[in-house]
Each structure stands twice: as C-alpha cells, then as structure tokens.
Amino acid sequence: MKRPVAVVGVGQTRHASRRADVSIAELVREAVDRALLDAGLEHRDIDAVVVGKAPDQLEGVMQPEQFLAGALGAHLKPLIRVHTAGSVGASTAITGVTHVASGLFERVLAVAFEKQSEGNAMWALSPKMPFTAPLVAGAGGFFAPYCRAYIARTGAPPHIGPTIAANARANAARNDYAHLREPMTVEDVTNSPVLWDPIRYLETCPSSDGACALVLASEETARKGPRRPAWVKSAASYAEAMWVPGRDQVNPLAGRVCAKHVYERAGIRDPWREIQTAEIYVPFSWFEAMWLENLGFCDVGQGWRVVDRGEQRFGAHLPINPSGGVLCTNPIGASGMLRLGEAALQVMGRAGDHQVDGVKNALGHAYGGGAQYFAMWVVSTER
C-alpha cells in the first residue's frame, strides 16, 4: 500500500430477522453513529463515504445510496456505491482502504447494510433470467453440490457439518450483537430437516436485518485517536469468471490467489502459525472446512480434520468466527464488512466476551456470487 491505513472505528447494529423498529436509513445510522463514536469523530471529520449492499431487489429500493446520502453524512463529499454480491461488505471496506492508501483522503466512512425482512431473499436472488435455464433450487441448492463434492473428495465424515454449525452457535452466544444466539448441540443440528442434501436447516445461514460501519484513517489520524487502532497490513479482492473449464468451486482459484496476495503483503509465511484468529464467510456449515484449505490454513483435504480436532474452536489454536459468523448473523450486504470489522475488533482487543487471547494478526474474509468474488484483509496490532 502507498501509505499505512488503520481501522479507527467499528460500529454494528443489533441484528435480527426483522428490525421493524427502524427504516433502512435509521438502521444504517445506528451502525454509523457507533463507528463514529468509537473513533471519537463526527460526520464533519469524514472526507469520503463508501456504501455497499447486495442487489437492490432485496429491499426493492433502487439505488439506495441516493436517498441515503443525507443519512450517511455524505452531503458535499465523494460518495460511491460498491456491489460484489455477498462479498460486498468486504469490498466496500477495501474500497475505503484504497481511498486512504491513495493519499487523497484522511478519514473515510465505509458502510454496508441489508434489510432482508423487507423483501424475500430467495426471490430476489433467483429472478427469472432471459434465455437461461431456469434456476431450480435457490442459493442452498447452488452451493450444496459443492459441499457434496468436498465430502466425496476428502472422505470427510457426516458429523463435520453439524459440528461446525454447533460451534458457530456456541460462539454467537458470546456476541451481544449476533442474531441467533441460542445454543444447539451437534445432535440438534443432525436432527434438523435436510433442506438441500447434504445441507440441513441448522447448517444454513439466517436472513437478517443489520448494518456495519468502519472508519478508516491515515496513520496521522490513527495515532491521534482515543484507542489502539487495527492496522490494515494488506487488503485485496479477486474475481473469477463463471464459465472457466476446470473451475473448482470447492477450492476456488481466486480465493487461493487472494489469500496468497494478502499473506505476502502482510509478511505472513505460515498463516496457521502467524494468524491468531479469522473471521471467514461461512453461509453453509461445510464451507468452513473448505475455506480452511482454500485460505492455506491447512493442506488440501485436511480442513475437516482441523474441525474434527476442534482446533478452530474458541480457546483453541485458531478460533474461526469467534463472533458466530454468517451462520448466526447474515444481513447479506453487511456480512462481509462484519467479518472484516470483527477481525479488526480482535486486534484492537475490544471484541468483548468473544475476544480471543493474544491476537496479533487476524484475517477477515468474504466471498460472493457463485463463489466468484473474494475479498480479504489482514489486520494487525503493529503497523
């Protein structure tokens, strides 16, 4: 990066299946107010605003960045909208990082949200498309075959998916903001209905209303702030084409390339030893095992063994999603920013009851589309 960038403020809303108490603008402002308060800044201190969300048909409000300009405090400032499907929250944060790294802006507000209760995500994400084969199974039906392929390739036993889902819930119980916090056992998950075999109901992310906001700043601002910032050591996003022969959605090339990029720039040679916690995008249980491999935390075929040994649990070697992650809280557009924001909170030492001990480096990760977009950052206690 051209110059150092730090996370100086993190804010998020309470997440729920329906936040009927607030409009979209008020939901967004709840996260923005908290991020600004956290940073010890006000709207007038912000030089530029970046906002992201998933497709507009989720809420039926077209180009919400227009009517939200006032709510975001963007009057007479640069405002841009980012969209990269499920990874958008992470891409939005990374766009904020490049704003600051460019040297053109000192303090940038990055905001991501989704108010899924206003529409129907299954409809909105599977619209009738002209001249293409009709979609037949919804989002879970799109991703379940890749989970099956993972299981077939690695010989992972069936309890791995439920183990991941139950662990996510145990983690969310420590996170005041999480949407689903009620504990559940591996047996509860195993006994829940199979929706898209091999994915069960309790292995599937919820549909949430929520928002997240980050304040990203230059070194000068970060040094003057009230608290220890999280330094962005590296940030990157990569896309891959939908129709590449030999494309591997179980272990996507763009994900591997993106991870390699952020590790190299952060000076990390062995992520398993040098990263202390990771917030990764796991909308369906099995993806946690798949991404452990894709992100280079273990060899190909070994992700499920990491889970089976419990090494990704809270208090173990590499806690994954100590916040509970996407399986417990999923306002789609905000989910990626929540991953990056939670990673930042971990290195700031302010993750509350789900704080992992001794975090120096943390990875934040998101993916979106048909496993097409990847966006990640490595944040650290040290510049």
Binding site: F131, A137, G140, P145, R148, A149, A152, D197, P198, D248
Partner: protein, 166 residues
Amino acid sequence: MAEPPREPIKYVDALVRLPYHYVAGDCRARYLRALKDKKILGARCSETGKVFVPPLVNSPESLAPADEFVEVADRGVVTTFCIVNIPVIGRALELPYVVASIALDGADISIHALIQECKPEEVRMGMRVEAVWKPDGEREGSHEDILHFRPTGEPDMPREGFINRL
C-alpha cells in the same frame, strides 16, 4: 398535543413490477434455436479447443474467440448434485427432487439440470444420464425443450473421471 400520534404506522407494503424486453444476441439465439431440433450446441475456443455449453462468444480463460459451433451429446455424467427438500418459489416440482451438475460428452464445462425418472437416493456422482426432450412439435427453441435428464443405465464413470470436475 402538538405532535403526531405516538404509535407509528409500522409497515408500508409495495409491489414492484418490472417488465423487460430482452434480445438474446446471435450466439445464444443460435444455441436456443438448435434445441428445437434436439441439438445441443457448444462453442469451441479458437486457441485452447475447449468447448463451452451454452456457447460463449469468447473464452474467459484465453480471451480468444470461441467462434466455432460444435454439437455436443445430449448425454453425459453427473459430476455432483444435491437433493432438494424444500419448495422453491416458482417451481411446482414434487419433493424431493435432484439438481445435478452434468458434464455433457464433448463439453468442457457443466450445466445444471434436473434428474428425474429415478429415486433421488439412486442418483450418484459418476452416473450416466441423458436428456429427455419435449415431443416433436412442442419444442420452441428454449431451455424448457429439455424436460430433465434421466439415467441411461450405462456403467458409472470411474471416480477419477468426475471427482475433480464440477
């Protein structure tokens, strides 16, 4: 009291209706019209020789034109699948049903399609399947011309043939 009522109106309902008029483009139009004749067309990359179904105008990999149309088989192998147990809006299919990735013989990328005419639990990775077409005179040059795929009864493809394909 100089204020509006304390209790807000909580919700406003809205129905958004968006009519569109699309044009397929030459490449997709040729592919769709061929379905009427029970032919599945792919496009061959002029550089790598790989075949895309449905056809693409250029390879996303080599970026070279894929301007040679070739016919691929209406049969192939199930590379992976899932069994759907919940209703999807707009699909009146009896549950459970199977959605599979199918690598058609002669194609280098897979399509997604329904597997019918067998029990869901009988579907396997590596299973050979064939297209079931709408009867002659009812096909109109759209994806619906293929009703679904069904098992051919041929021996399964060996594991190494499908395990790393999706």
